[in-house]
């Protein structure tokens, strides 16, 4: 335990030295991070200095209604990279999937980390939080809602990792059977006192959640480099990065997939793949007609790419699903273009036409009836009638 504490108190610089990371590799990482976050090159030494001096922050990672895809993405893609070191260099005190401890020992680790670092730890949440029935998702007998509120109360900042935590994701998709919501929505509900009587968490503790800064890192799963980028920013500046209107770091979610897509020139020229294996597809033309949601999706896939910069879905010939946007699961078929409505238009059109034709004929019959009645009731006026006046 003492040894563990000493390790935790080491600065990142010391941790890297002990693992044999050269200063050149470290500066290269800092330069890449500065570039990703759209910071000027003059900031590279500042980042390096801050990172070297940074102490390992305690991180508590809570997994709620999720598929572990976010953790899978993070761990697999980071094998033997410098980012992996940065991630190792935070003190991940609680993570269902990655921690060795189980049962009560695991929960104790969380409680201990919270107590020791109250007000200073980072809380990472993946998965959405159900409130329709708190029993739908529990960990160690504690409902997701209660665990979130208790843990968030002492956090320095909250990171909503993945689309489920950021926007509700798949559990939140229509008809949302578990009544699940994103971290941001839950905080809003606490603010509006909508959770009174639902959560068993002390209301004072719950209320301390409402002012916590929330960084949303959506994606199904999110890009690992984006996760480390956000953590690097926090370690470097001690603050959260610039966020957009959905709470996403602008450095990574500032531009759409479409605007950074290498197939964009084909869209502009009107050259599209019609099927997944036609000539257009083979020539690498735009995937808009195959349902690409790149034009309405903000993420860094087209620039940072996946699997250590190997490629991203569009590069592999698959349309963007729009997984880093709210309600991407409710936006109709993944393989239908954005210009196609999500409802069954042909059926609506046929039923409406049939109904309107019947109504039109009925109205026509009424008009004819009115006309014939008018003819029947017409009284002829004679000269005698006029002379009477």
């Amino acid at each position: 335990m003492t040894n563990n504490k000493n390790l935790q108190n080491r600065t990142l610089g010391e941790a890297m030295q002990s693992q044999g990371i050269s200063r050149r590799s470290f500066l290269k990482f800092c330069a890449a991070t500065a570039s990703m976050m759209a910071l000027p090159p003059s900031m590279i030494p500042a980042i390096a200095e801050a990172l070297e001096k940074a102490r390992k922050p305690s991180v508590i990672w809570l997994s709620f209604q999720e598929c572990t895809g976010c953790t899978e993405s993070l761990t697999r893609s980071h094998t033997a990279t410098l980012e992996n070191l940065i991630f190792d260099s935070i003190s991940l005190d609680y993570h269902h999937t990655l921690q060795a401890a189980s049962g009560e020992a695991a929960e104790e680790a969380r409680e201990e980390a919270m107590k020791e670092n109250w007000g200073k730890y980072l809380l990472v949440v993946d998965g959405s939080i159900p409130i329709k029935d708190l029993g739908y998702s529990t960990v160690a007998g504690i409902s997701n809602l209660d665990m979130f509120l208790e843990t968030a109360a002492g956090a320095a900042a909250i990171i909503s990792m993945g689309t489920c935590a950021a926007f509700g994701g798949i559990p939140h998709a229509h008809p949302n059977p578990t009544g699940s919501y994103s971290v941001y929505d839950i905080i809003k509900m606490v603010k509006n006192a909508e959770l009174d009587g639902i959560s068993s968490t002390d209301s004072n503790i719950a209320n301390s959640v409402i002012d916590k800064p929330v960084i949303t890192v959506p994606g199904c799963p999110p890009i690992p480099v984006v996760i480390t980028g956000v953590l690097t920013h926090y370690l470097t500046f001690g603050s959260i990065p610039d966020l957009d209107h959905l709470g996403r770091p602008k450095a990574f979610y500032g531009q759409s997939i479409h605007d950074r897509c290498y197939r964009r020139p084909f869209y502009d020229k009107g050259l599209f793949a019609e099927t997944f294996d036609d000539e257009g597809a083979k020539k690498g033309w735009c995937l808009y007609k195959l349902g690409c949601k790149g034009p309405t999706t903000y993420n860094a896939c087209a620039t940072t790419k996946w699997n250590n910069g190997t490629s991203f879905p569009i590069e592999s010939g698959a349309p963007c699903l729009g997984c880093s946007e709210p309600d991407f699961w409710d936006g109709g078929s993944f393989y239908k273009a954005l210009s196609i409505p999500t409802i069954d238009i042909p059926s609506t059109a046929v039923y409406t036409a049939a109904g309107a034709a019947a109504a039109g004929v009925a109205l026509g019959a009424l008009n004819k009836n009115k006309k014939s009645n008018a003819i029947k009731e017409h009284i002829k006026t004679t000269i005698d009638d006029l002379e009477k006046e």
Binding site: D259, T342, I345
Partner: protein, 219 residues
């Protein structure tokens, strides 16, 4: 409501509402016209109603030289923006996908830069048409609030479409959602305003020609 939720709403429930109002409105209004009925013409026909009708549909689609001389701006600008609307609505690849979804068949699209150019020309022409309407005292006197409303609802989808394509001013989902919503507004008012001329002008021209055709005179 986030922008994507708004976009999902305009691509779903709002599109359904607009489709129902548009289709029901157009069909009922056309049936109303046909079911009015006409008195039987007791005179002996001296020619064909059909040929006279068809001839007029074609002949009145082209301006005669006297009208063209007298109202050159009105006629030329009218042709330009109607042609622009035709190209931007029916020959832009994403729009054709929508028609393919509805009708089950599509047709080739024009290269996007060409459609883009037509959109710009259409916007400029529609603005010129409005200025002309406001500056011509007779036209201004004859114009009602409905005329200005349908001008606005016609130019709105082209401007929002242009902005959505070039991603000007707002985030992409918001721009696309506003563009689709502007088209839905146009569809909703369509059957109840002068926009119905898109359907009724064929009927009116045929009828005018048919009268002459029946009498055996030149239509």
């Amino acid at each position: 409501m986030s922008e994507i939720e708004f976009l999902n709403w305009v691509r779903g429930p709002a599109f359904e509402i607009a489709t129902v109002i548009f289709i029901a409105g157009v069909i009922i209004r056309i049936l109303e016209i046909f079911l009015l009925g006409r008195k039987t013409n007791l005179a002996k026909p001296k020619g064909s109603e059909m040929s006279g009708g068809l001839h007029t549909i074609a002949s009145r689609s082209l301006p005669d030289k006297y009208s063209l001389k007298r109202s050159s701006f009105k006629i030329i600008s009218g042709y330009i923006f109607h042609l622009g609307l035709l190209v931007t609505i029916f020959f832009f690849a994403p729009h054709i996908l929508l028609f393919k979804e509805i009708f089950g068949f599509g047709w080739p699209s024009l290269p996007t830069p060409i459609v883009d150019a037509f959109a710009v020309v259409t916007i400029i022409t529609l603005i010129a048409v409005l200025i002309h309407r406001l500056r011509d005292s007779v036209l201004k006197f004859l114009s009602s609030a409905e005329d200005y409303l349908i001008w606005f609802l016609t130019i709105l989808p082209i401007i929002t479409g242009y902005m959505a394509f070039h991603r000007i001013g707002m985030t992409a989902p918001a721009l696309l959602a506003i563009h689709i919503l502007s088209v839905e507004l146009l569809l909703i008012v369509f059957p109840f305003t002068k926009l119905m001329h898109a359907f009724t002008l064929i009927i009116a021209r045929w009828y005018n020609g048919a009268i002459s055709g029946y009498r055996g005179v030149q239509s």
